[in-house]
């Protein structure tokens, strides 16, 4: 069993082009012996956003703190603490923080991912 506190995991910047003010912690992955999926925590600064993109694997998201939106085809779907979202494979998506504090959410992805 691996058990730890989130604050003990370093948060690294997400360096994708067009990602603004985004940090990520990888809590559990294949490096820890996870067999099937990876749990990450994203933190987006006020005014920040992830890349608007698509990929052939899913996201399973749970919002831990604050508010924001999932942008898809020009529409903003509001999210807040306690909102969950399944972004299916190949769906366009972008996470946006239009609020006044850091937006934090869990985002799980599979370890074995189809090639883009």
């Amino acid at each position: 069993m691996k058990i730890d506190k989130t604050q003990n995991v370093p948060a690294g910047p997400v360096k994708e082009k067009e990602a603004v003010g985004v940090k990520m912690r990888v809590l559990m992955s294949e490096k820890d012996g996870a067999p099937n999926f990876i749990m990450r925590i994203f933190e987006i600064e006020p005014g920040g956003n992830t890349l608007y993109h698509t990929h052939p694997w899913e996201h399973e998201v749970y919002v831990l703190e604050r508010r924001g939106s999932v942008r898809q085809k020009g529409k903003d779907h509001p999210i807040e603490q306690g909102t969950f979202a399944l972004v299916a494979p190949d769906e366009e998506h972008q996470f946006v923080n239009a609020g006044d504090g850091p937006l934090k959410f869990i985002c799980c992805i599979p370890i074995v991912r189809p090639k883009e």
Copy 2:
């Protein structure tokens, strides 16, 4: 994309023998089109606990609210808001709430699970 609030998902009792005061919400599963893994939220009442058991698939856990412990081979590993835990396949485990409020945590499992 499926997007909703946790409180809109009904919480059902976990009826396993020896599970005490445990409710579960299934946020995202194969019924919603999830391809690989299931995200659930457990809520354990003060004094309650899940079954002490083992199974040939993993748990990936993130604690949302309050305190408790993961019991394994007679040892209590404390957990609180922000703690995460990877329970590997075939590891014995039990979640216990010895606190004074409901212990809430996310617990993800794979959709395709080896037979017990």
